[in-house]
Symmetry: C2
Subunit: 307 residues, 2 copies
């Protein structure tokens, strides 16, 4: 079995991650997850991308909403709202328990990695979810409404501000998670899941030493842009605002010579010639678990061919 | 209208408090509430007696359980338990929102009094709920299993340890809530609601200056012991363990010369001769809102006669 590092952000990336988890045993697959959109809210440490992956791998993701936990209820947040408390970040009753548990573990001195391991084990997840770093990195969104903390941009302002750029506060002092550090030398390939290149993947790639460590390993990325649209989230809107065409080939160009290969959707097959690395055209719409597994298998085969 | 201070603890006292709130307008009635059983749990400031009164006055108390908030759900605590977190203190989803709101307000610099005012106003309560003090006082239960924080004794250990005595940690440095301080000089009478004398009422009475301030005001107490049993909670069990007869007259003796009058249940009419202050015998079982109002009316009449 090859040893694969999967870099992933939110809900879109988590779909491919689930597929990969069905193809590779725990010791051969490590998830490196963006923590740039983590934030402190109601004195809780909220880690949206870690949680999206946790819920996806536990098959406890809320498929109706497209985010959060399955079989969720909203008594807490509705009561909080009625008491005049903050309610713009919709914390479900079950989801809240995860944030409280993590925050409690962190306050007891656990690292984010340790807290994540305890929670994922309790949820029956065998694969390791590695936060990209145990040190805080916070994505800042520069926009026509000023600089916003990521969740303020993403949830409170519903991605409405026009973005002009991003910063990853704290990244120069952050170190790559030791679990990822020790996996990199034995890693046979890296898959960048179809997550937002700017705010989900770039924080991981911008960690000091990360790009250098990846140069000796075949890296492929799966386009989060299909037919000019983001399957989920503001990637296409951001690209337009940044004066980048909202295309799969522009995503490939964004990652540049980091990539050995690029996976794009069959709807964008005509862009293949505009893509520098080798490309693999397939159906990337993962609207069932079966299709998540199929895309994961396709990615693993493509990586093997590149090696 | 007379101006009345009502001293109250948990659910039993809150029943009479609701009755009083239906008899007296907000400016003529102040609730002085025990905070000795407040505690920090999951990094939340939990104030069980303030909340019991809040839910009772908002008529949002859970009548099925006999504690907590009406129409409650338990998704949070069940998930917390499944994640290996602490779940011995049963936080309902709605109840949790109140604790989170209060904790947030306290962290923003509000006093417990201010936080309580914001929450009670949001819940439509017109009367003022005054925590006995804004400084922390913590009831410690000395027992055959050692010294326990009150909620550990009360909830976690289900009142099973045999008590040997109590301490109110921090009380020598605690000051009476300024709202209570300024109400005392204009107060016409004090009603000690049928709460546990040792752990609900004694913390209030033990605040520096409280007993002295009450000497010039007629004070009546309503027995929480009826026919040798506590209507709710461990009062009778505690009395047995402290080698005090579990009787209404022993409750009167416990309060001693603080009392101008004592209200006992008709089932205990034979104890009247053993009670030093004037006594009033009536039906004290408040199993309906109507009976809560009737007992409140009886207490107010009794107080007026004593004045």
């Amino acid at each position: 079995m090859p040893k694969i590092l999967a870099i992933t952000g939110g809900v879109g990336g988590a779909k491919l991650a689930l597929g990969l988890s069905k193809c590779l045993p725990a010791q051969d697959l490590l998830f490196a997850v963006n923590t740039g959109d983590d934030f402190n809210h109601l004195d809780l440490h909220i880690a949206p991308d870690i949680d999206s992956l946790t819920y996806a791998l536990a098959e406890q993701n809320n498929t109706e909403l497209g985010w959060g936990r399955a079989d969720e209820s909203w008594q807490f947040i509705e009561t909080m709202s009625s008491l005049g408390g903050q309610s713009w970040f919709r914390l479900g009753d079950k989801d809240l328990a995860l944030h409280m548990r993590r925050t409690g573990l962190l306050k007891q001195g656990a690292s984010l990695t340790e807290a994540t391991a305890i929670i994922t084990k309790a949820m029956g997840i065998k694969h390791v979810i590695a936060p990209m770093s145990d040190e805080p990195v916070r994505t800042l969104v520069h926009s026509d409404r000023g600089t916003l903390a990521f969740q303020h941009y993403f949830v409170r302002e519903r991605c409405e501000p026009r973005v002009t750029g991003f910063d990853f506060d704290g990244i120069s002092k952050a170190t790559i998670n030791p679990l990822i550090q020790s996996f990199l030398p034995i890693c046979d390939g890296v898959i960048i899941c179809p997550s937002n290149p700017f705010v989900s993947v770039d924080p991981v790639l911008t960690l000091p030493g990360m790009r250098e460590a990846l140069t000796r390993i075949p890296v492929i990325a799966v386009s989060p842009i299909v037919a000019g649209l983001a399957i989920k989230g503001p990637a296409a809107k951001m690209m337009a605002e940044l004066k980048i065409p909202a295309t799969a080939s522009a995503v490939a160009a964004h990652y540049g010579d980091l990539l050995s290969g690029f996976v794009l959707d069959q709807r964008d097959a005509d862009q293949q010639s505009a893509i520098t690395p080798k490309s693999y055209v397939t159906d990337t719409i993962m609207d069932s678990v079966k299709k998540r597994i199929q895309l994961a298998q396709g990615c693993l085969k493509f990586l093997a061919e590149l090696a």
